[in-house]
């Protein structure tokens, strides 16, 4: 029996167990980093960029949940901590293999080359959730350095951290033109700051066009050549096959989870569902990634078997479209507690792809490139507005949703420019729509309370909620 199976018997021990576990992992990372830095005669890199506040998330998302859910949250977060500790330890031993990649670029190929993939926006992405004052500081750093206040706050937090030298220095950088101009353009100052070779992936505007497949494939082949030069060896296709097959396991579990979530009541929701999906961004095709998704699926299956929803009384089912307000990390939980509203699907989680056909190198590359060209959000913000709306309306029907919450991030020029089209399209289909104004990473623009007030006003006036 694993330790966690004992812990589960004592619900009060779950949070301390995971807290302690991540604390110990943090100590391990510090020890390895300091040791190798001492050996090389260098100043050690400090992985404590957001002051250990990420452990606050355990408490936030576990509170009030049944033990199985708490364990699933704990596993998802703890495995993410494990992932970063693993990255930092590998990087400490071998700093010349660290590759920065932009968040919308799936890192399977980097992983398969035994390079160390580090998602640039990963740690900046946690800051608004656990240390908002830190996020604001990094935004101010970017703006004080002359970068416009109106660009997306996600690249601003990232740029701020890069300008302060807080992220581990890379050997090379992979970025793209996805999903938007802010993200794309921010990589020019980032590149100048870190001064390493860069490969930019050119995805066609409409990645759904049939011609786009061939173009993307050739771009990814160029990316592979670039990485091979960095790695000093060719891409091992057998290793890539292993990664893809593990990713397929994750995908099967995800598809099964999504099918379960179509049921009423939904056996899964809260932050756990979208959180688990970060596994696709940071550790796809790894045993860790598989475990994260399977833990979530376990909880969902158990609930469904017992005819139980995630919330005691499911009153509303919502689709969260657009940018989730990271500044209000308890939003899903609050919706459930306040209104019995379960978020059954999220744009940033909807990464719907067939399984990768690993029977040949050609089919494997073809399917992997499809996944790289159409990650969540990018598949909706690129191409004509039909790409933005198509998935939404189909999901609304499939998941028997009651309303749509559109996370209208103020600096997202792309998505804000189609709000009228969205509003009228929803009206035409009798779909209640809340346009939630916020800034994705900057709580000074709209506070978490302000976000919730918008929801409350909508639920009172439009949905007639009690």
């Amino acid at each position: 029996m694993a330790l966690i199976d004992y812990v589960k018997r004592f619900p009060r021990a779950i949070y301390p167990y995971y807290y302690t576990r991540s604390f110990v992992q943090g100590l391990r990372a510090m020890a390895v980093i300091h040791y190798h830095a001492w050996k090389r005669g260098e100043k050690p890199f400090d992985p404590n960029m957001i002051k250990n506040r990420e452990r606050d998330l355990f408490k936030l998302w576990m509170e009030g949940r049944p033990p199985d859910y708490q364990v699933a949250i704990g596993e998802a977060l703890a495995l993410s901590v494990d992932h970063y500790v693993d990255i930092f330890c590998r990087m400490a031993r071998d700093p010349d293999r660290l590759i920065w990649y932009e968040d919308v670029i799936p890192p399977e190929i980097i992983q398969a080359m035994d390079l160390i993939p580090f998602m640039v926006e990963g740690i900046p992405g946690m800051a608004p959730m656990v240390a908002p004052e830190e996020a604001h500081h990094f935004i101010d750093v970017a703006e004080n350095a002359g970068y416009p206040a109106d660009i997306c706050s996600m690249p601003k937090v990232t740029l701020g951290m890069v300008l302060e030298g807080l992220l581990p220095p890379p050997r090379a950088l992979i970025c793209s033109n996805s999903p938007c101009d802010s993200g794309m353009s921010s990589y020019l100052p980032i590149q100048q700051e870190v001064d390493v070779p860069v490969f930019r992936v050119d995805f066609p505007w409409d990645v759904y066009e049939p011609r786009a497949k061939e173009y993307c494939l050739k771009e990814i082949e160029r990316m592979i050549l670039f990485l091979e030069e960095i790695a000093g060896h060719p891409l091992d296709m057998d290793r890539l096959r292993d990664v893809c097959e593990m990713r397929n396991r994750m995908q099967k579990a995800t598809l099964e989870l999504w099918e379960l979530m179509k049921n009423k009541p939904s056996p899964m929701g809260g932050m756990l569902h979208p959180l688990s999906h970060t596994a696709y961004q940071v550790c796809p095709g790894t045993a860790m990634g598989v475990r994260i998704i399977e833990e979530v699926l376990k909880v969902a299956k158990a609930n469904h078997r017992e005819g139980r929803g995630l919330v005691p009384e499911e009153k509303y089912r919502a689709i969260m479209w657009g940018a989730f307000p990271v500044t209000a990390p308890d939003l899903y939980e609050w919706l459930e507690n306040e209104y019995g509203m379960v978020t059954v699907m999220v744009m940033l989680t909807y990464d719907h792809h067939p399984l990768i056909d690993t029977s040949s190198e050609a089919s494997m590359m073809r399917d992997l490139v499809e996944i790289m060209a159409k990650p969540p959000m990018a598949r909706h913000t690129r191409g004509p507005v039909e790409n933005f709306l198509g998935d939404l309306f189909r999901l609304y029907e499939d998941y028997q949703a009651d309303l749509v919450i559109m996370g209208a991030h103020q600096s997202c020029k792309n998505m804000r420019a189609v709000l009228r089209i969205l509003r009228e399209s929803c009206r035409h289909r009798d779909i209640p729509l809340l346009i939630l104004d916020h800034d994705v990473f900057d709580a000074r623009v709209v506070s978490p309370e302000g976000i919730k007030r918008q929801v409350s006003d909508f639920m009172d006036t439009v949905m007639g909620a009690d």
Binding site: D150, D181, S182, S185, P189, V385, C412, A417
Partner: protein, 377 residues
């Protein structure tokens, strides 16, 4: 500062007459007018017999209430002004629209225009972000689709011979504009920056058959003349899309003569000719992807930077003004990188943020005057 008085040619009147007469002549000849919004749309394809290309501009559009309800308030004021202008006009004001997927704002302008007005001819080109052989091939395919669309919709032949004719006319236009631009290297050039902007806007609003002879004639007239007014300094103006001569005038009224530019409704539009590849679409693709690119193009910053430095030195500028449209992510971010790098190179640089419609003139002049004083001018 007294307004500029030209010895021989009043460029403002010249441009006004040319546009009025040119539009009148185009109407009488039954030419269809196709609007485009980005320098990556090849004018050549829109300049075949029966059509002419019109680079969209509407600097007098001050309010954008209707457009704001479609595009957000955080979308650039150029795209909002364009949408407002189009929606306000009669449906036959323009015969077609061609976009590029150049930036988020343009892409969504396309979506909103289709949604709000559903123009009979409205296309978008998916422009690559790179200039390798696959990118050029992709661009050729996009141009082929555009050509086919034009043929089908307007019933006009767009064969290679028509395209070669259009290439020749557009190349001639570029040559003439470049010749005129070269005159600005002189210590006392015959035209100001405001003049050049009027000439460029007229050039990209009319059939080349109208513009080219007028330009040739103008070059002859201004050759050997110089501006009456004395200026305190020579500057290069670069940055976001800029089509309003009044903006340049405000700068020049402070005593800073704009002798060179680096923006897409300026020299970036007319530098570099289309080559003589046997396939016209291939030749067009090569030119457009190889020309001095805008910040949306990948891995092109070093080339763009070197070009600005080279032009600044060739034109003897003492300072550089970077103007960026509010909410323009590409220029907003790259403008700051340019600022830092140019200053490191020893150039005095001023950064100005603006909206599409001219405003805040007093503040702008104060900042420019302070900038000139800081340069010791």
């Amino acid at each position: 500062m007294t307004p500029v008085v030209r010895e021989s040619v009043d460029i403002a009147s010249w441009a006004e007459r040319l546009v009025a007469n040119g539009e009148d002549r185009a109407r009488k000849e039954g030419l269809r007018r196709i609007a485009y919004f980005c320098s990556y749309v090849p004018e050549e394809i829109l300049s075949i017999p029966g059509l002419y290309a019109y680079r969209m501009h509407a600097p007098n559009t001050i309010t954008t209430e209707t457009a704001d309800s479609y595009l957000g308030l955080f979308n650039c004021s150029y795209t909002r002004a364009m949408l407002e202008t189009i929606l306000e006009r009669e449906s036959d004001w323009m015969d077609g629209f061609v976009f590029t997927a150049g930036c988020d704002h343009l892409r969504r302008l396309y979506d909103n225009l289709l949604y709000a007005a559903n123009p009979p001819f409205c296309r978008i080109l998916g422009i690559p972000y790179k200039n390798h052989s696959d990118a050029r091939e992709w661009y050729v395919e996009e141009l082929s689709l555009l050509r086919d669309g034009l043929e089908e919709h307007f019933g006009l032949p767009v064969r290679d011979e028509e395209l070669r004719g259009a290439i020749e006319a557009c190349n001639e236009n570029r040559r003439l504009l470049s010749s005129l631009n070269e005159l600005r290297k002189r210590e006392n050039p015959p035209i100001s920056g405001e003049d050049m902007q009027r000439i460029v806007v007229a050039s990209f609003s009319l059939p080349k058959s109208v513009v080219n002879p007028a330009l040739a004639d103008l070059i002859e007239q201004v050759e050997g003349t110089g501006l009456d007014q004395k200026f305190r300094s020579r500057v290069l103006l670069m940055g976001s899309q800029l089509d309003d001569p009044a903006y340049v005038r405000v700068i020049e009224e402070t005593g800073a003569l704009v002798v060179a530019d680096g923006y897409c409704f300026g020299s970036l539009q007319y530098e570099q000719a289309v080559g003589s590849d046997s396939d016209p679409l291939t030749a067009i693709s090569q030119r457009y992807l190889a020309k001095i690119p805008c910040p949306r193009m990948f891995d092109a910053y070093p080339g763009r930077y070197d070009r600005i430095v080279e032009v600044a030195r060739e034109f003897g500028v003492q300072g550089i003004i970077i103007q960026t449209m509010k909410f323009c992510d590409c220029w907003g971010i790259e403008g700051n990188v340019f600022l830092n790098n140019l200053r490191e190179e020893g150039f005095p640089v001023l950064r100005l943020e603006r909206e599409y419609a001219l405003g805040g003139v007093g503040q702008m002049k104060t900042r420019i005057q302070a900038f000139l004083e800081s340069m010791g001018c």
